[in-house]
């Protein structure tokens, strides 16, 4: 219903070009995080592997099966919340070079969103086309 595609993502092309210029390993370990980079041997973005999806999911903490509830001396009652109740703002690089975003409080949805490789949704997207701040929605 609205213009959800805008701005610039020329860097994807630059990255792909740079990586394609020399033989590249299929996966690169990110220093200090132990995560793997999702680029194919030609340096092009690709969807996450099953292993990467699993590791991406590991960041999200499961909600406690029993809520931590306490009634206090002043008569009010609290339920403690930890990061498992947080909203997560997640970005995904699509195969066409655009980037999609979503905010969700459900880790499963965050992982599902991140693991999609194609822009199949209606969430806001930053297209790869350079210097276009107000580009329209899909052309075709």
């Amino acid at each position: 219903m609205k213009n959800r595609v805008f701005a610039v993502m020329a860097g994807v092309c630059l990255l792909a070009t740079a990586l394609a210029a020399a033989p590249q390993p299929e996966k690169i370990t990110v220093e200090g995080q132990g995560l793997t980079v999702a680029v194919d041997p030609q340096g092009a973005p690709r969807g996450l592997t099953a292993q990467e999806i699993r590791r991406f999911a590991e960041q999200f903490k499961a909600r406690p099966s029993v809520p931590r509830i306490a009634t206090h001396s002043h008569g009010r009652t609290s339920m403690a919340l930890d990061e498992s109740y947080d909203h997560h703002f997640v970005a995904r690089l699509n195969l066409d070079g655009s980037v999609s975003f979503v905010c969700t409080d459900e880790p499963g949805e965050a992982v599902a969103f991140a693991s999609q490789a194609a822009p199949t949704d209606t969430i806001m997207r930053l297209p790869r086309a350079a210097a276009r701040q107000t580009v329209a929605a899909e052309r075709e």
């Binding site: 219903m1 609205k2 213009n3 959800r4 701005a7 993502m9 020329a10 860097g11 690169i28 990110v30 995080q33 995560l35 980079v37 999702a38 680029v39 973005p45 690709r46 996450l48 909600r63 099966s65 809520p67 509830i69 206090h72 008569g75 009010r76 009652t77 609290s78 339920m79 403690a80 919340l81 930890d82 109740y85 947080d86 909203h87 703002f89 997640v90 970005a91 995904r92 690089l93 980037v99 975003f101 905010c103 409080d105 459900e106 949805e109 991140a114 999609q116 949704d121 209606t122 969430i123 806001m124 930053l126 350079a130 210097a131 701040q133 329209a136 929605a137 899909e138 052309r139 075709e140």
Partner: protein
Amino acid sequence: MKTIRTFFALLIALVVPVSAFANANIVIVNNDPPNVGFNDPTPAAPLATNPGTTLGQQRLNAFEYAASLWEAQIDSPVNIRVRANFGPLGCTATAATLGSAGARGIWFGDDFREPDTWYHVALANKQVGFDLAPVGNTTGDDEVDIAASFNANIGTTGCLETLGWHLGLDPSFPPGKLNLVAVLLHEFAHGLGFSTFVQRTGPNAGQNAGYPTYPYPDVYEKHIFDSTLNMFWPDMTAAQRLTSRLNNLKLAWDGPNVRANSGSVLGPTPSFWVDSPASIAGWSLVGRAQFGPALSATPLSGELVQGLDAANTAGPSTTDGCTALTNPAAVAGKVAFLNRGTCGFAFKVKNAQDAGAIAVIIGDNAASDNPADMGPSGDPATDNAITIPSGRVTLARANALRTGLAAGPVFVRLGIDPLRRAGADELGRVLLYAPTSFVSGSSTSHYDTTATRDLLMEPSINTTLTHNVSAPFDLTLEQFRDIGWYPDADVDLVEDNVDNCVNTANADQANYDRDSQGDACDSDDDNDGVADAADANPFSNMQATVTVGTCNSGSPNVVFPSGLTMMDRLAAIGPQPNHGQFVSAVSALTNEAKALGLITGAQKGAIEACAASK
């Protein structure tokens, strides 16, 4: 810090309409270790709207500024503490968590605005007027109200290298950058109250927070209304809530402040109606074309006709409209129906226009909840040549149209519905994001993506956002008002619209003279015409007539120049050795009043008669 806050205040004054007397204090608790995140000493060139000279300082400035924007809109007598990190979060080259945030507790209590209702802790603190989980508490409750962690690695090797944070404090989205302040405003809002805690998955899916011990609704949930079931969420079963959260375009926020302001924020809805046959008749959203004329408030009507073209390399089907239509005689003067795919939307519309169509409906070729907009072709000659309106319908709607066309003539209208706001239902209730299984992403704790203009609390951040959080730019503050973030400039826990001293704290609302101003802000508390500063008794006995014991003299209770009334002076006479001396003292007082011209001789006599009869 004071300097940067002053800078923020100036910036806020320039870009955001601030609530007149908003009074909250949001404390950003920097939780990063040395040299990391907010403390990253990497030099950074100051930006036009962010004077920080290190990367860490610029990040922290963005957090502080986002906090300042909320401070300018909400009131609370209790500091709102936000634990903030800017460190590594889950990240790969193609997917990353940019940030996470949420409340660190929910509370209920008998003295809250609504009993048996879970409130986000910052809002709960406002309700009771003190910090329910203070720093150093021993109850196990988190000392902060909100926690926010953001990803410092975005844009670095192996972590969405093509994306980066815009650390400027302006609302712009430079190419390839995501406006951090906008994202922070969004995530802080979740922590302040724009979120429900109904379980969405697991064995307790659909249950309220606190289930099974205290399965009370949260204050957000109490405003979620399903127009199919005609029920609010707290009245539903867990199973009904799970179904309801996927009820696209039927789940809405029902609150007086949002509803009252939705019309000033949201534009009219692009609409498509099938008038006949009855089997497929009805209204539906239509995706707008970003070429050709805008849809009209006077809908264009006509018969819908399938446009046909050759199946060729330009378009493999006979219904894609990628080449000149082969049935212009059928299409001329009608609304052409074409399928999405292969070629640009604008090319299809142009081909239908050339065949004489008066409008075009394009049916989607992929399932979606709602029809997206249609972008221009990229060929200005084509885009600029289009003179007829067009719209895009979902695959489901397109399939229904095909069924209808197979059975007989179909009559349609295309235009905007001025009575239905884009992103609201027929009654002005703003829709909540309730996607079906077609779309992954959060639901319920966001406004729907059909809203136009773009809203801060949609499930994504749109580049049209302005950093304004209230009408006529946005509806987040109005949602806050609905759940209890009432205006309270003097933070005395009395809502401004009923507070007899809006800017002076007076929780007791004491008002001696019962006028429109409470004693705390009334310059003449007893309304005797003598300002309190010069009044010997600001709280004089202001009864209408002078009485002595049970005797009413009928004489007016006049005010002496000192601000004391006749009744004040009579009370001051006090006990006398005998009745005669009492009458004498009263006579002296009435003589003084008469000499000042405050009472007549007859009134003097009436008072003295009462004194004598006592």
